[in-house]
């Protein structure tokens, strides 16, 4: 009886949204709304966890609302339950954070009504069991998140981001609509059960794959459909950014998995996996390269979301390739890796966005070049952010390492694939994955180092204060979960077992929790094992020993001396390493090819008092190749047809008449 409860909870959220419109007044209003959201998300989280742990059969429910002949179908199965856990964990923590953070909101009346609605929309997408309910909930989620993006619409950059988001969301939903249309077939069986039972031809199935990639990929942020994401996610308030980046992109991944792995059934051709794999690899590397060039903390995190979506899709592509060759054991490994990364990314990306929110509250700055030295006034935020940064950089013993390691294990199985193209493609994508992991580490050295270390680069950074207890609690919950998932990966893999089994012909990874020392053994123990617990113990013991030894044998006092100033006394904070200078070598290596980055030094002649200038110009290849021509064509076409707006009444009648006569003529000639 979990499903009725899980359906009732979004209704509570919607009611709270309505209440927020009518009655909520700051400061109590925001506290009430976020408290209810926190309670509801926690209950949903526990319900979904209990359902997944109990291993019950799928529950279904049909409500007589929506289309009269269809109704609204809902279903709770392991896949939905897993994503419900991801969504509601993120929502609960973000709501907890917002209990403190929401007090600083300048326009609460624009955020409070839509926040619960957004949560409700995401929950309903996961529970929907027919195309109509799915698309309705999907659009509801998109529109409420759009409203949240537009919360601070006075900034023209946010308005532009909102516009782009709206266009891309409509485009994606159109693709999904066509997907379901193709899946339902001419009889219009929009119920997911009917779609599962139906058969479609291989050609149509390939079309479904392409459309699902466009529809779900545009929401998740697959290159080249990612352009809206780094603009829209940072525009929202930080706890909403955390949800959009950490959780909503996962709902999009859910949509892709539901359509391709569940509704479509077995993949028909092996090249499907290759296509998804290649897209994932490109997305991962491009996402992290974009991120490296950013100095805006939130935008940097948003580009990292693109990268991580790429990693998830690498796992999914491998799973498709293996399934296409009936290698279900290997497919189980790839799927486990992808789903594990879904969970991990939701944890650390939410954590990092919340940390950025704390920095934003304390300083009012998102630009790293104006921050610095925040570890002194904000030690706890810095610690939590550091844990998140280490996790997203895939450093053991944290959770990011485990899922990327599992992805690599799946890539190492790819030589068993019979197709030569896949044999070559998978290692190449593996190289891309390794590259993106290394670049991500560099990027987070930059993000953490420039923001929290060094000396303050602006007065606001110097006067920052530690954030409130609610926010800190929220961040440390997530940081703790990152550590737990990292050192006890076997438990997560076991939890994912039924989910993977339901998508993979009942084949799942072997049970992990009874392995000695909680070791993770994805295939067999002679091939590869990983033990997060031992790694952590080793690091803890060796670190403590080293510290003890140094303090015993050298000196146990903390000594403060003058910092090395390179011979320039009283150095200004502007002489520190900046985000731009940190990224410069990587920009030289990759950016000059990918982004056409060009540096220009303007050196005024002697005697001229103007300062010397170093300008860097970069171009976005995806925008210039993929989007700018479309935008130009639309503008050109619409100005071409603009005169249709200014015709006489007779001309309009004549157009109608001409169209009618033409159609009738066509009818005559057609027959």
């Amino acid at each position: 009886m979990t499903l009725p409860l899980l359906l009732a909870l979004p209704m509570v959220l919607l009611a709270v949204g309505v209440y927020a419109v009518i009655a909520a007044r700051p400061p109590h209003g925001s506290r009430q709304v976020y408290s209810v959201a926190l309670a509801v998300s926690t209950v949903a989280l526990i319900a979904a966890l209990a359902y997944l742990a109990s291993g019950q059969a799928p529950e279904t429910l049909r409500l007589p609302i929506g289309l009269p002949w269809l109704g609204a179908h809902f279903r709770l199965d392991p896949l939905a339950a897993f994503f419900l856990i991801v969504v509601n964990l993120g929502s609960a923590v973000a709501s907890l954070f917002a209990l403190g953070y929401g007090q600083h909101e300048t326009a609460p009346e624009r955020v409070l009504p839509f926040y619960p609605a957004f949560l409700a929309g995401m929950n309903l997408v996961l529970l929907a069991d027919d195309a109509f309910a799915f698309l309705f909930a999907w659009e509801f989620m998109s529109l409420s998140s759009w409203a949240l993006v537009m919360a601070h619409h006075q900034d023209p950059a946010n308005t532009r981001a909102g516009y782009l988001y709206l266009v891309m969301a409509c485009f994606g939903t159109l693709a999904l609509l066509l997907t379901f249309g193709l899946l339902a077939g001419p009889d219009g069986g929009y119920n997911f059960d009917a779609i599962r039972a139906g058969q479609i031809t291989p050609g149509l199935a390939a079309l479904v794959l392409a459309l699902a990639l466009i529809g779900a990929g545009s929401k998740a942020g697959l290159v080249p459909l990612h352009v809206w994401l780094p603009l829209a996610h940072p525009a929202a308030p930080s706890h909403v950014s955390a949800l959009m980046s950490g959780v909503m992109t996962k709902v999009a991944v859910y949509g892709f998995i539901r359509i391709i792995f569940d509704l479509l059934g077995e993949p028909v051709a092996w090249w499907w996996g290759g296509m998804v794999l290649a897209l994932g690899g490109i997305t991962a590397v491009l996402g992290v390269l974009y991120a490296l060039m950013q100095h805006d903390l939130k935008r940097l995190l948003a580009y990292h979301t693109v990268e991580n979506i790429g990693i998830i899709f690498i796992g999914l592509g491998l799973a498709l390739a293996f399934q296409g060759n009936q290698m279900y054991a290997s497919a189980a490994l790839a799927l486990t890796a992808a789903l594990f990364h879904v969970l991990n990314h939701s944890l650390f990306k939410s954590l990092l966005f919340l940390g950025t929110g704390a920095v934003l509250t304390a300083t009012g700055e998102r630009d790293m070049e104006h921050l610095g030295g925040l570890i002194h006034p904000m030690p706890y935020t810095a610690l939590a952010f550091l844990i998140g940064a280490a996790a997203i950089s895939a450093l053991p013993p944290l959770n990011g390492f485990v899922s990327e390691w599992l992805t690599f294990q799946a890539i190492l199985l790819s030589p068993e694939l019979p197709q030569w193209l896949l044999k070559f493609l998978a290692p190449a994508v593996g190289a891309l994955l390794a590259l993106s992991a290394a670049l991500a580490a560099a990027c987070f050295v930059k993000a953490f180092g420039i923001t929290f270390l060094g000396r303050p680069r602006s007065p606001v950074a110097a006067q920052a204060k530690e954030t409130d207890r609610y926010s800190l609690t929220a961040m440390f919950i997530l940081a703790g979960l990152c550590v737990v998932a990292g050192i006890l990966p076997g438990l997560v893999v076991d939890g994912l077992g039924p989910v993977v089994g339901s998508l993979n012909g009942s084949v799942q990874l072997t049970t992990q929790h009874n392995q000695p020392w909680l070791t993770l053994v994805p295939i067999v123990d002679v091939k590869s094992t990983y033990n997060g617990l031992l790694v952590m113990l080793f690091m803890a013991i060796s670190g403590t020993l080293a510290a003890l030894l140094i303090h015993r044998l050298a000196s146990n006092k903390v000594r403060r001396g003058p910092a090395w100033d390179c011979g320039f006394p009283d150095a200004s904070p502007a002489t520190q390493y900046t985000a731009g200078s940190f990224a410069q070598p990587i920009r030289r290596v990759f950016g000059s090819v990918v982004f056409q980055a060009r540096e220009r030094v303007t050196m005024p002649p002697p005697g001229d008092l103007r300062p010397a200038k170093l300008e860097v110009r970069m171009r976005d290849p995806v925008w210039e190749i993929g989007y700018a021509p479309i935008a130009t064509a639309v503008v050109a076409l619409s100005s071409r047809f603009n005169y249709l707006q200014y015709l006489t009444i007779r001309r309009y009648l004549g157009l109608v008449f001409g169209a009618l006569v033409l159609l009738l003529l066509g009818m005559v000639l057609w027959r």
Binding site: N642, Y646, T648, I649, R650, F657, M667
Partner: protein, 221 residues
Amino acid sequence: MHGLAFDIAHLLAGSMVIVSFMLLYQDRVYALLNIFALHSLVLALAVGWQAHIQNAPHLYVTAVIALVFKAIVIPTALYRIVRRLGIHRTLEVVGGVGRDMLAGTGLVALAILVMLPVTATADPLAREDLAFALAVVLLGLLLMVVRHNAISLVIGFMSLENGLVLAAAGAKGMPLAVEISVAFSVLIALIVIGVFLFRIRERFDSVDMQAMDTFREERRR
């Protein structure tokens, strides 16, 4: 009996097409109104005949509605509007009667070519009726397109609507409610159009649509 009934229905529906052609070349306003009254009268006869041969009493109501409203009330009202506007002496330049006639003939041919294959399985009476009705609709549209005068536009619209009623009467089993609603909607359209004509006239001193175009803002091209 069947042969005669069919022939008379055919004759009446065909007469509507002929009267539509007559509408097409009338260049004086009063003459146009007279012909429109004739058009509606023929429609009333055609519908009445259909009521007789289909044994469908509700069609008599439709015929009476057509007779009272379209053949008497609407033309009278338009007469008064025209007189009050003082445009009963204006001649409308009809550009090329021959051109319009040729176009009209083509449209009738098109209507027959479209309708006859589509309704191959239907009752022959309904087939002919539908073909003629489509022709009347198309000719009404043509009238609206080739004329400048607002009154002619109104007449074109009304004759188009007559074609719709003819089609509805020809098809068996069309409920009366539809026809009544169509008739009332036309009546309301007449009132709205009448009001608009006066408003237009007040504003622009003319009901010639071409004169009105010069007032439009931001004309491009």
